[in-house]
């Protein structure tokens, strides 16, 4: 067993591209679900329309990179309004149903044959990240400590990513300490009570949906740029559920929980996956386990770990146990 490789890849995963993308998506989910109680099961679509908005603008229509970013942002906001206007006046479950369906519709449009001249079908779009990497201040080489290092392109993506995460966390911190955040948390507890106190609940829910979508869409941009390509199947429903897992793992309605949750989630996945594959190649596991099925086994083990976490620490890592105790009353 090559423990060195396992260690290096695991540490790299804790700050790697996936962690950054999922952390941003989860910060968005945390705003919507954790603070405002909105069940947005379509977070993947918010990242998807942003990533495609940018990629298509640049790769298909050969327009400037920053225009692509603007179009991606606009697409996210339009999607939030499209989903929110008909559903936010209704009971919470309607938003869940509509968003999960909308996310699939968005993904299927991106991969459809009919629009493949625009979105590129199931292959997606490439050749749009040139302008982004042209801004790279890092000269070619590797950056990091010893074996835990990244090349200049990855370093650039991660730098931008962690700066965006810091900004997003700062934003959430300021907002949730303010009276604005108080209204949001109150809506999560009981909408009618908030209405009876003279607050326009619909407007606050819409603001939360848009804000969560916009923060998530930053993850969409980074996902596309970091891989220098977009594919429709990156934005499938399980993406959204991983984001929810991360929020619950960290503890809902805490500023840093999505970030720490994302790091732990990916460290666990990478560590368990690499350890299993090393163990299989070293012949340490029964023949039941092969290189082909350890991918599935990895998810089973991580799922088991998450279940244990929820049994023994239902409030998540940063959560307040007293809040969970209130639910039981």
């Amino acid at each position: 067993m090559d423990w060195n490789t396992i260690f290096v890849t695991t540490v790299k995963a804790s700050i790697g591209l996936e962690t950054v993308v999922y952390a941003l998506a989860a910060i968005g989910v945390n705003i919507q679900f954790g603070y405002a109680g909105l069940l947005n099961f379509g977070q993947a679509a918010f990242l998807g329309v942003a990533a495609y908005g940018m990629a298509v603008t640049v790769a298909t229509f050969h327009l400037p990179f920053w225009l692509g970013i603007l179009i991606g942002l606009a697409a996210t906001i339009v999607l939030a309004f499209l989903l929110g206007i008909p559903t936010l006046r209704l009971r919470a479950d309607y938003l869940a149903i509509v968003t999960i369906a909308a996310a699939e519709i968005v993904r299927l449009i991106f991969r459809s044959v009919k629009f493949s001249s625009v979105f590129g079908g199931s292959d997606g779009r490439q050749n749009f990240s040139g302008d982004f990497f042209a801004m790279n201040p890092y000269s070619p080489g590797t950056y990091g400590i010893g074996p835990i290092s990244f090349n200049e392109r990855v370093t650039w993506v991660l730098t931008v990513g962690w700066v965006l995460i810091a900004i997003a966390c700062g934003l959430v911190y300021l907002l949730m300490k303010s009276p604005w955040g108080r209204v949001l948390k109150a809506i999560r507890e009981d909408e009618d009570a908030v209405r009876s106190l003279g607050k326009n609940v619909f407007s606050y829910k819409m603001q939360a949906l848009v804000l969560g979508g916009v923060v998530g869409c930053l993850g969409g941009f980074l996902f596309a740029l970091g891989q220098a390509s977009v594919q429709p199947d990156l934005f499938s429903t399980e993406f959204t559920f991983y984001a929810y897992t991360i929020v619950i793992l960290g503890g809902a309605a805490r500023v840093f929980s999505p970030v720490v949750g994302a790091a732990i989630f990916w460290v666990l996945l990478v560590f368990v996956g690499n350890t299993l594959s090393e163990a299989v190649s070293a012949g340490l596991l029964p023949s039941l386990f092969t290189v082909n099925n350890i991918g599935a086994v990895r998810f089973m083990l991580v799922g088991l770990g998450l279940m244990l976490l929820l049994i023994f620490r239902p409030q998540g890592i940063f959560g307040d146990k007293r809040e969970i105790a209130l639910d039981a009353r």
Binding site: P179, A186, A193, R195, S196, L197
Partner: protein, 309 residues
């Protein structure tokens, strides 16, 4: 400052009602709320059909009626939580039909709920602060600049602390509202409603689920509202409470207002007794009725015998 020590407002309220007809929809000298022909149908069921009713400013008015009389639906309509199929109502002369609930509250008509809606995972103080109106920090962009709302927040906190002290919740200031007892939640809900600065306070069954020890204190607080110049309209089942604190009683049955009057005499009104207990519920059988029934039975028997013969 309980009502008993300053009888001025109660006397004024009672004087306003002196000599009024005990008919449904009787006009009041200075109504704050005027309701006209409000109807609510759920499919084939007409839950509310109120022809005309007025609520006198500065008084405590009780809305009573048997279960299913439509009191809560009527309440929900007035406060914008349910829509009206027909009719209109004005609050301080302002048309309120079709106005959403949060605007009704801003206009000065604030309600509480039958099942208390304390915001469990907010502290008692945060619950209170939420009630304050026109908060600068509730705007998304200004929220990001704490300097723009700090001062107002301090003023709000000061007001909230005064109210919490009055409602004897100041010791619970930093506890989660979810950890309070049922009665304390009712108190918190009432205190929070006062943070809005209402003119008309609408209480939906303020005594439901409150332990008897807290009842007196709650009653005192309701009377205090009138002393401070607010108008109170409340739904209640507890007749002792209604008699104790209300200045005027409106009775609903099967969606309509069937009677109005002062609390001492309203319960002896035959229309009210009929509504609660059903018509002819306790009239003893007269001898004529007895005779009649006897003859009917005999006639039946005879006809049976004839058939057999």
């Amino acid at each position: 400052m309980h009502a008993d020590t300053t009888p001025g407002r109660k006397a004024a309220a009672l004087a306003a009602f002196a000599g009024l007809d005990q008919e449904p929809g009787v006009p009041k000298p200075d109504p704050i709320l005027v309701v006209d022909k409000v109807v609510r149908r759920f499919g084939g069921l007409t839950a509310v059909d109120v022809d005309h009713v007025e609520v006198q400013r500065g008084s405590i008015t009780a809305l009573i009626g048997p279960n299913g009389a439509g009191k809560t639906t009527f309440f929900n309509q007035l406060t914008g939580f349910d829509s009206a199929d027909e009719g209109s109502w004005t609050f301080n002369g302002k048309q309120l039909k079709g106005v959403p609930a949060h605007r009704v509250a801003r206009a000065g008509m604030v309600r509480t709920f039958q099942l208390t809606k304390a915001l469990s995972k907010l502290t008692v103080m945060e619950n209170m602060r939420l009630g304050a109106q026109n908060q600068r920090g509730e705007n998304f962009f200004r929220a990001l600049v704490p300097g723009s709302w700090r001062r107002q927040e301090d003023e709000i906190t000061e007001r909230a602390e005064e109210l919490l002290e009055r409602f004897k919740l100041d010791a619970k200031r930093d506890d989660f509202a979810g950890s309070l007892s049922g009665g304390q939640r009712k108190l918190l809900e009432m205190a929070r409603a006062l943070m809005v600065g209402p003119e008309l306070v609408m209480l939906d069954e303020p005594m439901a689920g409150v332990n008897p020890a807290l009842t007196q204190s709650l009653l005192g607080h309701v009377k205090d509202l009138r002393e401070e110049g607010m108008t109170v309209l409340f739904v209640e089942h507890d007749m002792d409470m209604v008699r104790d604190i209300s200045d005027w009683v409106i009775v609903m049955a099967q969606g309509a207002v069937i009677a109005e009057g002062p609390p001492d005499t309203i319960m002896s009104d035959p229309r009210v007794i009929d509504a609660y207990l059903g018509a002819h519920h306790d009239a003893p059988m007269s001898s004529e009725e007895f005779e009649e029934q006897l003859q009917e039975a005999e006639a039946e028997l005879e006809s049976e015998i004839e058939e057999k013969a």
